[in-house]
């Protein structure tokens, strides 16, 4: 299977670690992503139900505004686009290869599971107060107890459900 050219993951991971260091040094901010989804969700609610926004404590705490992390999340999309284009690995794809092998080419089926998965993932990540970036990278690198509990829980939950949906799957 053609994967597109990539870099050694140790190199790419190490360089991204340097980005983390510089970010903390220059701006005082540690990488994270999931709070931005709360802020963006608040922006959507602001359009359709503005009075509700002031009633919900969570949206008051995480006000719908564009902050440092919001820009990081937008930047990730731009950076990924630039990297994909320069390595010739940009590919418009509606159904991932591994998914297609197991569940077929239906876009609707993939969309439904991805949507439900997204709801569960973000609900869980806010309950945990951080995602694989905020807890898994930033928490772990600071030796936070919470980061290591989260990292283990992320993988335990994920491995169990991946086993349920893909089976033992020793065949390709």
């Amino acid at each position: 299977m053609q994967e597109g050219k990539g870099w050694n993951p140790y190199l790419a991971g190490g360089l991204s670690g340097i980005v983390s260091i510089l970010s903390v040094w220059v701006t005082g901010h540690y990488l994270g992503a999931s709070t931005t989804f709360v802020r963006a969700s608040g922006m959507v609610e602001k359009i359709f139900a503005p009075e509700k926004l002031t009633q919900l404590e969570y949206f008051v705490r995480h006000a719908p505004k564009i902050d440092w992390q919001f820009m990081v999340v937008i930047g990730i999309m731009i950076g990924a686009f630039a990297a994909a284009v320069t390595s010739g690995s940009f590919r418009l794809q509606a159904v991932p290869d591994m998914w297609r092998e197991r569940f077929g080419p239906s876009v609707a089926k993939r969309a439904a599971v991805a949507f439900v998965g997204g709801i569960i993932a973000l609900f869980g990540v806010r309950l945990a107060d951080g995602c694989p970036s905020g807890h898994g990278l930033s928490g772990a690198l600071q030796l936070a107890v919470s980061g290591y509990i989260a990292l283990i829980a992320f993988f335990v939950g994920g491995v169990i459900v991946a086993r349920i949906i893909y089976g033992k799957g020793d065949e390709k």
């Binding site: 005082g28 820009m71 990297a83």
Partner: protein, 180 residues
């Protein structure tokens, strides 16, 4: 520097390396969760080791502050498990979903929409969570060195050794069974 511009530059660099490391893909994320493809583990551990050493050096020099999230065992463990369930279904996490979209894997869009709904639902559920799950086992903003009462460089040494050992096992395993 303008803080929003700094965020954008940080994100662009981070997204660039995530894509070059090939960790944005559903196949790689599920590959890790199916214990078949460890590219994400290699990327994450490299990031953690490099940044951990760098940040703690700067911390010892008094140039940076730590920003620790509280270890509320109920919230972090239950929320973390729940996130894992959603992660396995979606195949992207909050940060990588935007990156996946950037490299053309537009099934991430359904996940992003779902995550916006999930954020809204959590805002509704927050008062309940605050009164229940988020009160279970709160140990505060604590680090492993603080919990153990030992110097952080000792813990850093142990984490690096553990990560190196794990990566050694992974590399050995892959020599026997090359990833697809």
């Amino acid at each position: 520097m303008n803080i929003l511009l700094a965020g954008l530059i940080t994100g662009i660099l981070f997204g660039f390396f995530l894509q070059k490391g090939r960790v944005l893909r559903y196949d790689k994320q599920l590959g890790a969760l199916r214990l078949k493809d460890f590219i994400i583990v290699k990327f994450m551990l490299s990031h953690i080791i490099v940044a951990m050493i760098g940040v703690y050096l700067l911390y010892d020099l008094g140039l940076v502050k730590l920003s620790i999230k509280p270890a509320i065992v109920g919230g972090v463990a239950l929320g973390g498990l729940l996130f894992g369930v959603g992660w396995a279904l979606l195949g992207y996490c909050p940060g990588t979903s935007l990156g996946a979209l950037g490299e053309g894997r537009w099934d991430a869009l359904w996940g992003i929409l779902g995550m916006l709904v999930g954020a809204g639902l959590y805002a509704e559920a927050y008062p309940f969570m605050k009164a229940t799950v988020l009160t279970w086992g709160n140990f505060g903003k604590i680090t492993i060195p603080q919990a153990l009462g030992i110097n952080h460089w000792l813990v850093i040494g142990l984490v690096v050794a553990a990560a190196a050992y794990l990566l050694f096992i992974i590399e050995k395993h892959e020599q026997k069974e090359p990833a697809a």
